[in-house]
Symmetry: C2
Subunit: 434 residues, 2 copies
């Protein structure tokens, strides 16, 4: 009998028909003459119902004993079932067991996080991880769609970078043939500045690395970042781009995953629905004043920690853009505000609900002499920046951009406390397995 | 005067209107009362025509002396011009110079490749590199669109991997905190097998690394690879997926870039138009027989070099799939052919015109005992594969997949001799700059 082999997510197209499903046993329960097998195939979960009268006694008996994650092929009739999340169930006619799984290490009971992380290759199969990683997929796709539709050219930044531009303390080193050491990129920004001069609008999107000796819930050693850079763009336009971009991502996730976010992750999606332009904008100086009024011992020149970011963000019902930070706090390449050289034309976007900074960016210094001067003042090796200075030597133009971290964005959108669940195989100071 | 600020590529929408363009001087020529400025902005190039009678004498005089890559803002009227590639030119009313560039290092004359690679941050601005990197963008987008539309979930594979699974000779090592060494990934396949068991259909797409001491025109130390993996997929279905996939990519490039491929890269696109399913399929054994008849000293058990691949591919007008290689030649995880255990259920896709292997893949061994046996025979550390064996222990199913290298695909589609131009910032044994 040659039945259509279908994926569970498309079962609705086959209502009333006999089909074949291939997947794994996710869960099961029995009630007398009925076994209810929850079968997953990676696209969705369906309830496959075995009625004692419909199958052989051997099969009915065996089905009761199948272990979680047994691989199987199920044949039967697709039927509407309004009670289920899928809307359909399968009236089983036959089950073919591929492999009986025994003692699957991840059971519906509670496991510790370290145990689950060590079993990440299996943990990926659970419903909760499924939703998170599908949201990640949607976010990554939305990121690319946004920039592709907006006339940006994808210009992959290199992972191996030559010089330790801003100190080596948080860089991973790699012995590189006879050339000494290469360093794993922390940001593609400098390369995107070259790309913006070539393509006008460019972005990169790939893994970046930070060898920070930090074990907080916001740190991974390997994380994905998207970095757009645009020629002739000002800080004000950069902020508009950032708010359009974030809104696009969040609304796309809601379109595709609202139900799962609510049902599986218990996310309060009303907070995500607010994420539409315009975002509130406050200067760093205003932010400090606010913190002081709120009783925080912050003073002008201090960096914000997680607590300060949360206090600032809690004033608003959507992300807030903080701009014009003290120039001293920012990297050498930021343009300073002509109206007030004490501050740099940089901006951060802070997510609501305590999820912290998800975007950092701003306008870059485009004047060569100023930039040379900064490189000297920061005691950076001029030679390593020769190519970067070429961008100011040959047809320099104002330009700006930003970077968005994927994992923090996924954590915020999904409402997760820790970033370790936001990436398929998290890498942290104490973890490089599986 | 507030004119619409437009990108050159969309000039056609503004015919007859005054607009503002922002970009760089790509080239120029003069003829008495006219200066013809080729202005690029990263989206396209437009000819901006200065008529002596239309602008101030100072501007007309200055325009004649502007150096290549001078950054400027040009205002004028968009006019149809059938002779130009764009179809439009600009009748200039005003030019505002942002920075006069002098002695731009890359002139229209010939430069050596080493010189150009050292100036890659500027070389990106040239028309030829523009076309290649736009084709790369289109290929990368087509790759994602293909899998996203086909129900695959993007599951990013980790870059840091723990064990040196198949010998360390071509792996880059990274000192990793107190955990000893991590290695940069050569392939996400093993992780995608875990992902396929979770999502049914999964793919990863990111940079991969190979520390090969090789300086050939086909080698980069850092290159991008896409790796789909599908549960319940056979070798035959894997070949169908591969040919559908490659055809999709090539036809998408032709849709978007046929003219540029012909005009700028002088690509014979008739050879690309043939790239539609079905692709010819030959077994490795048939391939050896063919080579022997063609006078090559190949014998059963030999690997194919570039010469052999070219001879094999030249028989066909589209890519050819070579399958069922000697099991001894293939990695431990390949399933052996039940009908002939001497051969593995692997396949390679060879591009036409001497571009060599662009896809390698096949069916994976799904039986745990067989796989354990292989790991032992290959003297691989069983402990490092414990998690991988879990995939066979808990609900194993037949599965298959493949990997496609982006740079070789770009080289083939663009007709490039060397892969170094196929990636924005190439990394090779002797190059990690700029």
């Amino acid at each position: 009998m040659s039945l259509p082999v279908i994926r569970i997510a498309e079962a609705g197209k086959y209502e009333g028909q006999d089909v074949e499903l291939r997947g794994w046993l996710y869960n099961k329960r029995s009630s007398g003459k009925l076994h209810f097998l929850q079968v997953r195939d990676g696209s969705a979960i369906i309830q496959a119902v075995l009625f004692k009268g419909d199958v052989t006694p051997e099969l009915f008996e065996r089905a009761d004993k199948l272990g979680q994650e047994t691989s199987l092929i199920v044949r039967g009739t697709v039927k509407a079932d309004r009670r289920s999340a899928l809307g359909f169930e399968l009236g089983v006619k036959d089950v073919q067991v591929i492999q009986e799984a025994r003692d699957y290490p991840i059971t519906p009971k509670e496991h510790g996080v370290a145990y689950l992380m060590e079993h990440r290759h299996l943990w990926l199969r659970s419903s909760r991880q499924h939703v998170i990683l599908r949201v990640r997929h949607t976010i990554e796709k939305a990121i690319r769609d946004f920039f592709d539709q907006d006339g940006f050219t994808l210009v992959d930044a290199p992972i191996f970078t030559p010089a330790a531009c801003e100190g080596t303390s948080t860089l991973f080193e790699v012995p590189y043939f006879d050339m000494g050491k290469a360093y794993l990129t922390q940001s593609g920004q400098l390369y995107m500045e070259a790309a913006a001069m070539a393509f006008g609008k460019a972005y990169c999107f790939g893994p970046t690395f930070r060898a920070e000796k930090s074990k907080t819930r916001r740190h991974l050693t390997e994380f994905w970042m998207v970095e757009p850079e645009v020629a002739f763009m000002s800080l004000e336009e950069d902020m508009v781009l950032a708010e359009r971009f974030i809104s696009f991502i969040v609304q796309r996730v809601l379109e595709k995953h609202e139900k799962e976010l609510v049902d599986v992750l218990e996310r309060d999606v009303s907070k995500l629905k607010n994420v539409v332009p315009p975002f509130p904008r406050i200067t760093y100086t205003e932010a400090i004043e606010y913190l002081q009024k709120a009783g925080h011992p912050a003073k002008w020149g201090d960096d914000f920690g997680g607590d300060e970011e949360t206090v600032l963000a809690n004033q608003f019902d959507r992300p807030v853009i903080v701009h014009r930070y003290p120039a001293e706090m920012k990297a050498f390449y930021f343009r300073h505000d002509p109206a007030n050289p004490q501050v740099a034309l940089g901006m951060d976007v802070l997510a609501p609900e305590g999820y912290g900074e998800i975007i950092g960016g701003g306008e870059r210094e485009s004047d060569m002499a100023t930039l040379e001067d900064r490189i000297q003042k920061h005691n950076l090796p001029m030679d390593a920046f020769k190519w970067y200075l070429d961008l100011r030597r040959y047809g320099t133009v104002p330009h700006a951009g930003f970077g968005l971290g994927v994992e923090r964005t996924v954590a915020w959108v999904c409402g997760l406390h820790h970033v370790r669940e936001t990436i398929p195989f998290a890498r942290m100071m104490e973890r490089i397995t599986p």
